[in-house]
Symmetry: C2
C-alpha cells in the first residue's frame, strides 16, 4: 500500500545555511532540520524532554506543544523548542550559537607543533606502522638465485625493512612480474598489517617519494576527532574534529540504541552518519594539508563499544539489555572500502580492543597511551566522558569499570552547560567578596556562551571554598551576595549577565545543576574507590592517578579534589593526558608493537560490573556531599573549608 501525502507541504529555510527543506504539515522544526541535515543541539534526541533544541522562528507560523522550557519573553521573541514546534506554514528558522553544532579544529597550527613535540618525539614503541610503503631494490634473479618474484620480494622486504609478509593480494601478484622487469627491479611495495601478519597489497614502479599517511580517529559519542599522521615519521600533520552527527538521535548512546531498535533502518542511518563524519574529517585534513586521499592507507579507530559497533554496521542493541553483551570486542581489520571509508582503495581500517559493554577501545587506547602497562606501580586511570570509566592496574593486571556518570562534565544536562569549545567558561575564580574572574576558551576578551566541564569543577570548588555553597550543595542564602538569587528554577548563582554574555542570555548555575554535578563527581569517585576496594587495596596503594578526557584543556586537580571528584592525594600523583583515546589510536597506527600492547592490555583486563558490588549504592549516596560525607577521606579539604 502506498502511503499518501495527506497534509500540505511547507518550505523550511534555515537562515545562514543556504539549506531549505520541504516537510509535511505537522512535522516539527526538529524533524525538518534532521531531514535537511542541519544540526540542532539535543540531549533527548527530539523527545521534548530536554528543551535544548532552541531555535528562533523569524517568519511563518508554528504551533508549540505545551512545555515549561520557555519564558514568556522568549516566546514573544520567536524562540521555540524545535522538537515541540509543529510547522504550520512556510517558515524561516535561525539557529543560535548555543544550539548549533559548531565544527572547529581541535587545535590550531601552533598546537599541532606542540602535539608533535609531545607525541612524535618520545614514542615508547618502534616506528613500525600498520601500513608501510617501502622503496625496494631487488637483486636480479639468476640461475643461482632463482627464487620466484614474490618470494624474492618477501625475502628482500624482510632483510631490508624487517617487514614479514604472510600473504599477498592477487591483484598485486598479477602486476608484480611486469612491474619488476619494467622498473629494473626497483619497486615501491605496499604492505598492510592484517590481524596477525602483513599482507602485500600493492607493488608499483619506484617513481618519486612515497606518500604515506594514516589517520587516527577517536569516535566519541559527542565529538569525532581525527589526526592525519605521516606514517614515515610518526609526525601528526594536523587534526580536525566534528560533532558526531548521530547527536540528532540523542546525546547518549542509549538513545541511539533505542533508535536502532525502534527503526528497521536505524542501524543503517546511524552507520551512514558516522561514516559520513569520518569521511568529512578525512576530506578536511586532505585538503588542508594538500595530500591525495589516495595516499592515506590506514585508519585506526577507537571509541566506545556502541560507536564501534555502529561504524561496523553491527547492531549494538544487545548491549543495552542485561547481561549487556556486545557482539565483538576486537574486530578484525577490514578493507576500508568495505565500511565506506574513503581512503586508498586498498587501505584498511583497524580497531583496538574493547574492554566491555561500557568500556570501549577508547579506554584500552587511553591505557596504552598512559604507560600504565609499563610500570610495576599501581596506577588509576579516570576517563571523564559521558560515562566515567575507571581502570586500575599495573604491568601485570588490570581491572576496569564504568560509572554512568552522565554528561554533566561534557556540558549537557545543566542550565548553561556546553562542550569545551570556543566561548566556554573553562576557568573560574571567586573571591570571598564574591568578585569573579572567568577564563574563556578562545581568548580573554571573548564573551562567554556557557560553562564547560573544567569550568564547573572550578566553579563549585570556588563557591564551596569561599563559603557560598554548603556541603550538601545548597547556596548560602545569607551571604548577602547579589549573584545568589531566586531564579525561575530555584536558587541560582549568576556568572554573567545578559550584557556580559555572547548570547545576551544570563549565564547561571542553579542548585539543580550543582545537584547533577555532585551526582556525576560522586559516581566517578565512588566507582574508583569500589574498584580499589574490590582489589583489596586502598588509595594509599595508588602511586599515580591519570586523568583522561576532552572535558577541558587543563584540569585544576586541586579544585577537583575539593569537590570530591578526585581523591585527596599529593599533587604530584596526578597526570592529565588529554584525549588518551586518539593518542592510543595514533600509537597503534604507528607501531604493530603498540597494537600488540593494546591487545595484551585487553587480555589482562577484568571487567568489573558495578551493579554486582553490594556496597556501591551506599557509597555513592555517601559521596553526594562536598567533598564527601566521610570528611576523613579528604583531610586537606576539610582543614580549609569546615
Amino acid at each position: 500500500m502506498v502511503k499518501k501525502h495527506t497534509g500540505k507541504l511547507f518550505r523550511v529555510a534555515f537562515k545562514d545555511t543556504g539549506v531549505v527543506g520541504i516537510v509535511e504539515q505537522g512535522a516539527t522544526v526538529f524533524d525538518a532540520a534532521k531531514k535537511a541535515g542541519v544540526y540542532i543541539n539535543s540531549l533527548c534526541g527530539g523527545d521534548g524532554l530536554c528543551g535544548k533544541c532552541r531555535v528562533n522562528v523569524e517568519d511563518g507560523r508554528v504551533t508549540m506543544r505545551s512545555n515549561t522550557f520557555l519564558e514568556d519573553n522568549e516566546v514573544e521573541q520567536g524562540e521555540v523548542v524545535a522538537c515541540l514546534a509543529q510547522i504550520e506554514s512556510d517558515i524561516i528558522v535561525s539557529i543560535p550559537e548555543e544550539s548549533s553544532l559548531q565544527s572547529r579544529p581541535a587545535f590550531d597550527e601552533e598546537e599541532t607543533e606542540e602535539l608533535h613535540a609531545e607525541f612524535g618525539g618520545k614514542e615508547r614503541y618502534p616506528i613500525n606502522p600498520l601500513y608501510q610503503k617501502r622503496r625496494l631494490e631487488l637483486p636480479h634473479p639468476s640461475i643461482d638465485d632463482n627464487l620466484s618474484d614474490y618470494e624474492r620480494l618477501k625475502r628482500e622486504l624482510s632483510r631490508k625493512s624487517g617487514i614479514s609478509i604472510a600473504s599477498a593480494e592477487l591483484s598485486a601478484l598479477r602486476r608484480l612480474p611486469h612491474i619488476l622487469r619494467k622498473s629494473d627491479y626497483k619497486v615501491m611495495t605496499t604492505a598492510v598489517f592484517r590481524d596477525v601478519d602483513f599482507e602485500l597489497i600493492d607493488v608499483d614502479e619506484n617513481d618519486g617519494e612515497p606518500r604515506n599517511y594514516g589517520v587516527a580517529c577517536d569516535i566519541g559519542t559527542t565529538t569525532i576527532m581525527a589526526y592525519l599522521v605521516d606514517l614515515d615519521t610518526g609526525r601528526i600533520c594536523g587534526s580536525a574534529a566534528v560533532y558526531n552527527a548521530q547527536m540528532h538521535y540523542g546525546e547518549d548512546v542509549i538513545s541511539r540504541i533505542v533508535y536502532i531498535q525502534e527503526n528497521s533502518n536505524g542501524l543503517n542511518e546511524l552507520n551512514g552518519l558516522v561514516v559520513g563524519d569520518i569521511n568529512s574529517l578525512i576530506e578536511t585534513l586532505s585538503v588542508r594539508f594538500g595530500i591525495q586521499q589516495d595516499s592515506i592507507g590506514y585508519i585506526v579507530c577507537t571509541g566506545n563499544t556502541i560507536m564501534t559497533h555502529i561504524l561496523l554496521g553491527i547492531t549494538p542493541e544487545y548491549i543495552r539489555r542485561e547481561p549487556y553483551i556486545p557482539v565483538v570486542a576486537t574486530p578484525s581489520m577490514v578493507p576500508a572500502r568495505d565500511i565506506g571509508i574513503s581512503i586508498n582503495d586498498s587501505g584498511y581500517a583497524g580497531f583496538l580492543p574493547s574492554l566491555g559493554a561500557f568500556v570501549g577501545s577508547d579506554i584500552s587506547a587511553a591505557v596504552l597511551s598512559s604507560s600504565m602497562a609499563d610500570s610495576e606501580e599501581i596506577s588509576l586511570l579516570i576517563d571523564v566522558g559521558t560515562n566515567g570509566e575507571i581502570v586500575l592496574g599495573c604491568k601485570d593486571w588490570f581491572i576496569c569499570c564504568s560509572a554512568s556518570a552522565g554528561p554533566a562534565f561534557e556540558g549537557a544536562g545543566t542550565a548553561c552547560g556546553m562542550r569545551a569549545s570556543t566561548g566556554a567558561i573553562e576557568k573560574v575564580s571567586i573571591a570571598v567578596d564574591g568578585s569573579i574572574i572567568l577564563g574563556i576558551i578562545g581568548g580573554k576578551n571573548r564573551k562567554p556562551s556557557g560553562i564547560c566541564g573544567t569550568g564547573y569543577i572550578d566553579l563549585i570548588s570556588e563557591l564551596f571554598t569561599a563559603g557560598f555553597l554548603d556541603r550538601t550543595g545548597r547556596f548560602n542564602r545569607d551571604s548577602g551576595l547579589d549573584r545568589i538569587r531566586e531564579g525561575e528554577n530555584g536558587v541560582e548563582f549568576l556568572l554573567a549577565s545578559s550584557a556580559e554574555s555572547q548570547s545576551s542570555k544570563e549565564i547561571v548555575v542553579t542548585e539543580n545543576d550543582i545537584r547533577t554535578l555532585i551526582r556525576t563527581k560522586g559516581s566517578i569517585y565512588t566507582a574508583a574507590e569500589a574498584v580499589i576496594r574490590h582489589m583489596g587495596l586502598s588509595w594509599t596503594d595508588v602511586e599515580s592517578v591519570i586523568i583522561s578526557g576532552g572535558f577541558g584543556n587543563v584540569i585544576n586537580t586541586r579544585h577537583a579534589i575539593v569537590i570530591g571528584l578526585l581523591p585527596d592525594l599529593a599533587p604530584e600523583k596526578f597526570h592529565y593526558i588529554g584525549n588518551g583515546s586518539i593518542t592510543g589510536a595514533k600509537m597503534s597506527l604507528m607501531s604493530v608493537e603498540a597494537l600488540h600492547a593494546s591487545r595484551a592490555i585487553a587480555e589482562q583486563m577484568t571487567y568489573f560490573d558495578l551493579s554486582t558490588d553490594p556496597l556501591y549504592m551506599n557509597e555513592f549516596t555517601s559521596s553526594l556531599f562536598l567533598p564527601h560525607t566521610d570528611v576523613e577521606k579528604f583531610p586537606s579539604v576539610v582543614c580549609r573549608s569546615v
Copy 2:
C-alpha cells in the same frame, strides 16, 4: 579503424556434437573448432607441425596446404589435417576417436571404493580440514560470563572443536548477534583456513546436517582431475577428469606460454579455459553425487607452475626465459569467487607450494603423499609426466630437478601414442616367436586405439628381451618376423593390423618412436643419477624409489629397468603411488597439518638446475642405449640380453 569482414561467411557443422560454427572464408577447420569450443587433438597447437589434428570433411570444400602427413588414400577418404585445411564452403566435419578429446571419469564406482580404502582409512595427519562447519552450542551469557558474542564463539569453538579463529568476516559478525539469540545459542559455524589461521566466515542457525564438501584438483598440462571429498570423514565421494581445454593451444606448457606472449588477451583466454574445466568438473561431481555446489567450501589445487599461474591469472611468460623465474611459488589462499571457481560464495581456493620453475606443486603434493618426508632413509621420487621430475631426499633435506623428457610416455610425439584412457594398449608381452599379447584399457575384448606410456615401456622391453631390438634401438632386420617391416616412415613393428584396431588403422611402433622413447627414458634416468651424484651419493644409498604419474594404471618395474628408465635395484625398493599430485592435494584439503607438512617440504627443498651440471649432457648421451652405454649400471639386464 573498424576491421571489415572482407571474406564470405561459412557454416561449419561438427557431426555428432550438435555444434555449428560460423567462420570467415580462409579460416581453417582447426580455427573453426577452437572458436566453437569443439576439441580436436593437437600437439603443436595448430601450427601445422604435428599432423595430429586429423578430421574428416564429409561434405563441402576445403583447400589443404601442402603437407607430408596424409597419404593419397586418406585424402581420397576426405581426411584432412584440421589446421592446414582452409574452409571454402559450408562444411560438415566429423572427428575420429583418435583426434577427439574424450572425457572419462578416472575410475568408476568400484575403483572409488578402493580409493577410499587406500586414502581415506590410513591418513598420516589428523582430520583437520581447511574448511570446517561445526555445530556449536554456546553457554548463555550472564553478568559473570559476559564475553562478547564473537569472543564467546571463539572460546567455545576452540574448546569444543580445537579450531583457533584469528579473524572474522564482517558479514558474519553482522549476522552473529541475531542468529545466536534466535537459535537459543545453538549455531552452525563455518571457518576456513587462510594462510596462517582460521577465519570465521559464516554463522547460521543450527538446522539439519552440516553439508560439508571440498574438492582436490590436479591441474595437469593434459588432464585435469578432481576428487569430491566429504570434509567430515575424509571420504572421497568420487572423481572426475577432463582433458585440459588449453590443449587447443598446444600440448606442452611452452606452446601455451608462447600463445600468451603473442596474444594480448592470451592469458585471459587460457585462464578462462582452465576455470571452465574446473567448474565443469565441480558441476559433474555435484550432479553425480546429488549435492549442492554451495555445500563445497574449499578447493585445493595442485599442478605444474605454469598451470597454477594461468589459473590465478598470473603471467607465466618469464618462466620460459633464462633464468626461468616464476612469479609466485606459494600463492595465498584466495576467495574462490575471485578466480571464478563456482563453489560456495564464501569458499576459498588454496594451493600447495611450487618448488621451482619446472617443478610445481604437483611434486610437493606427490612428496607429501609419498611419506618421503617421514623417513630417515633416502628415497627417490620419479614423477613421469610431460616433464620428468625427480626428488631425492629424506626427512631432513630434499633436492629436486626437472628433465625435459617430452610427452612420449603421455602418448604424444609418437606415431600411435595416446593417453592412458579407454582403448590404449597398456600391457604388451612378446614371445621369441614374435607372437604378442596385448592388454587394453577398458577390457580384453576391446579393439586397441593406440599405445599409452606403460604400453611403450612393456613393448620396448619385450622387443629388446626377445632380440627384435638392439641396444641402439634399431630393429633386427634379420629376424624374419613379418611384423618388422619397412613402413612409410622407416622400419616399424606392427602391433595391430587395420582389422584388429578400433580405428581401422594399423598400430605400429617406428624406429623414430623408439628413438624418441629412448631419449625420454634416458633423460629421466640421467636426471635422477645427476641429482644423486650432486649429493655425493650413489644408487646404493637410495632405499626406496617412488614412481608417480598418470601414465598408466600400473607400471611393470622390471620392464622399466630393462629399458633403463628405472635403475637396476631390487624389486622391493619400487613403489608406484599413481597420481601423487591429487593425493597430496586431498591430504592438504583434509588437514592443516598436512598443508604445513607440504610447506615444510618446500622449505627444505633445493632446486637443482640440470643445465648447470657439467656432466649431464655427456651422461645423457650415454643413456641413449638399451638399457645404457655403461652396461655395468644394469647388471641384471645385461646378464639376460647381451
